[in-house]
Amino acid sequence: MAEKFHTELKKLKTETLEMAHLGRFMLRTAVDALIRQDKELAASVVARKEEIHKMEVQLEEHCYHLIALNQPMAKDMRIIACTLKVITASLRIGRYGKVIANIVKKISDQPHIANLMTIPHMADLVIEMIDDSIEAYEKDSVDGISDFSARDDTIDSLRQSIFREGITYMMEDPKSITRCTNYILVARYLERCADHACKIAENVHYMNTGERIEIH
């Protein structure tokens, strides 16, 4: 019976990775659509909203079934606990992708201000954190996430600098208020996505070692 359970657990992890990759893909594609001002591409992100929600429900149910039928303990229990957190984080990341895609639809008729400031760079760093956290979950390893605290600090600094820069442009030209407000919102969403990557990292650490850590 233990063998059957462990096969199920592996399947759960594989399916959760699919969801994590979808969430990551939605965010990456939304940012690309923002950079290229591509409304069609943005619409393709919004179209996957239902799919990721469905995955969340199915995977959570899978977790609950495994708990109810197998009463997992030790690492098995920690894998399921971590998986539940990965599911939630992946949904949130995907949803931020969808929200950014909706912004693209609103602000793509006029050229970017200041080349989107540092948003593309910030997005690259956030996506790297998401990739590393997903890989840590997949490989059951804490190697790629040990520097997350410092990387999260960089993301926070970038968000603040985009905020300050945006305010400057808005003061210079009130016509830029709508666009700059949206840039500031995008930076805020990207920062939240980095926080979700940190949450995944914290839970992978718990899954792997049984010890709780907090990434600030």
Partner: protein, 253 residues
């Protein structure tokens, strides 16, 4: 373990003839707590349990070395009275084993052996023990009926009442629920939780969920060795030893 210890073992080894069944077992059993011993069949958990009231003395060709202390006194010291030791350290077995006597006589038997003759006092002990074993309300109207007419779960609680009647300090339970259905099991588990207010309970179980539910501390044994012992939450959430991890997640063998 920070709680005060009622039993401590130091470097206990046990052989059945040439076969070594326990190897350098050192542990402390905290007072008024439930300690569970888990491990695969033949790992020595029942043997260790039987060391605590010297029940292994009844088996031929058993050799024990090391030290076991109850209340800071060596239970193998020359002056130790085994009957008194077993009064202090009671035991409940896998299969309920009531005497073929009435319910009342089953519980009164122990106190009588230990010299209680007064009828009123015996009645008080019988009622109190049956109440502590959560059986009184079910049997108070038929104390003179045969104990063999009770259900399996009731018989096991009667055996617990029989153990309580001689006012032990420690109760050893060797797979006390393995012959019982889930409802009777739940009653025994609830009872174990209540008993720890007044007694120290050491339980051997194959059922890890049961160990997790009822115990405060858990010891994992493998091939006669105590591999790991700690708070139950720690053992079942993040065991320190890989062997423990493999056993409780079913990755053994």
């Amino acid at each position: 373990m920070s709680e005060s210890a009622i039993i401590t073992t130091h470097n206990v080894n046990l052989w059945y003839n040439e076969k070594r069944a326990l190897e350098s077992v050192s542990m402390t059993i905290p007072k008024n707590k439930v300690t569970a011993l888990i491990g695969p069949s033949g790992c020595g958990k029942s043997t260790l349990l039987r060391c605590f009231n010297r029940l292994n003395d009844l088996i031929d060709h058993v050799k024990i070395t090391g030290e076991i202390k109850l209340d800071d006194e060596n239970i193998h010291a020359p002056g130790t009275d085994v009957v008194t030791l077993r009064k202090k350290v009671g035991m409940v077995f896998q299969k309920p084993n009531p005497f073929p006597k009435s319910i009342y006589e089953n519980v009164a038997y122990g106190p009588r052996v230990h010299g209680v003759k007064d009828k009123a006092e015996l009645e008080r002990i019988v009622e109190q023990s049956l109440r502590h074993a959560a059986l009184w309300d079910e049997v108070k109207e038929r104390l003179n009926d045969s104990a063999l007419g009770l259900s399996g779960g009731q018989q096991q609680r009667l055996c617990i009442a029989r153990t309580l009647a001689v006012e032990p300090e420690v109760i050893l339970m060797d797979e006390p629920c393995s012959a019982l259905d889930p409802i009777a099991t739940a009653k025994i588990e609830n009872l174990i939780d209540l008993l720890k207010q007044d007694y120290t309970v050491i339980i051997v179980t194959h059922n890890m969920q049961q160990a997790a539910r009822v115990s405060d501390y858990t010891g994992f044994m493998y091939l006669g060795k105590l591999i790991e012992c700690g708070k139950t939450e720690q053992i079942f959430e993040h065991p320190k030893e890989e062997l423990t991890e493999n056993y409780i997640t079913g990755r053994f063998g």
